[in-house]
Symmetry: C2
């Protein structure tokens, strides 16, 4: 048996701590020593489970997609609305709650993409991939809603999403509602009701 202890396995503690710290403060701002300390793990234990800090960052990005994109955003959107067009708009209702949290941390994919500017770096590439996955989700909703060119639509919708996230990071707690209003205009212009 792997571990029947009460405290989670070491790898899991490292990953959970890194997830929280990277999301909150960014990648470069958080050193491995801080992760070590806050997860109560030995340095060698971290490096036994992850080849390098970059490797840990990649694992955190995967977890972010699981927890944020899939289990939170997509799940909440499905829960809040039935019709695809309403689900598209519901994205901004979900964002609205997010922006008003005291712990609002921004989008790790955007933040890491900007922080690691080298386009060939694995972290940069993974962020791009995961942002593309979010667009795929939007495009699939748009297709179901009857949008003629769901891929182009998703790129527009994503501009509203990312713009509102940056505005929220800047301090505008109403950013989701402002973006939603423009989303309604876009849908109306395509005769999607």
């Amino acid at each position: 048996m792997a571990t029947t202890k009460i405290r989670p396995a070491a790898r899991e503690r490292v990953l959970a701590t890194a997830y929280q710290l990277f999301c909150q403060h960014g990648i470069r701002a958080v050193g491995v020593d801080t992760i070590i300390e806050q997860s109560g793990v030995a340095k060698m234990t971290l490096y036994r489970h992850f080849a390098s800090k970059d490797d840990l960052v990649l694992a955190v990005l995967d977890r972010r997609e699981e927890l944020w994109t899939q289990q939170w955003l997509q799940a909440e959107v499905s829960r809040r609305a039935e019709r695809p067009a309403d689900q598209l708009l519901a994205i901004f209702d979900v964002f609205d709650g997010w922006f008003r949290r005291r712990t609002f941390e921004g989008c790790l994919f955007i933040n890491a993409l900007i922080e690691i500017d080298d386009r060939k770096h694995p972290i940069h590439r993974k962020c791009r991939d995961q942002l593309a996955n979010i667009r795929s989700f939007v495009a699939s909703l748009a297709g179901d809603a009857g949008v003629v060119d769901p891929v182009a639509f998703a790129r527009q919708w994503h501009i509203l999403m990312k713009g509102s996230i940056v505005s929220a990071a800047e301090g505008d707690v109403d950013a989701a509602l402002r973006a939603q209003e423009m989303g309604r205009l876009l849908l109306a212009s395509l005769d999607i009701t």
Copy 2:
């Protein structure tokens, strides 16, 4: 006399080099040693003109507002269109050229804001101020165009601007046109022609 040399004064060389490097790679990614080396200046010369690296960053942000916001964005917008509503839309024509440059570097204000996440840090605050100045410019155009609530309008317009910039950083060279289309819808919904 200050300096009649051919090469610009030391302070200017430091500032120009730091401007280019910070815009291209970010703040944390560029060390003072790199700035020293590329500007051909002695370390003590840098620290004679700037109290600290943070102080240099603040000076670079001021220069960014001069060169990017005022002398480039605002000037180009004025040059390209006469009527306020057209000037609002022209923002995205200017962005379109920017996004297609091989040297597209993103928005230093957004990047630094995200990189320095402490809301009380002077760099973070200055970025917020300078983004607010951009909104003031948009709000002034909107007021001239007859928009009823120019401040709220500017926040929406700015969401389109920031969203398109992040999308361009992600690799979408058509992001400005996509945002412009939504801008037209927003103006039309307010009966601004």
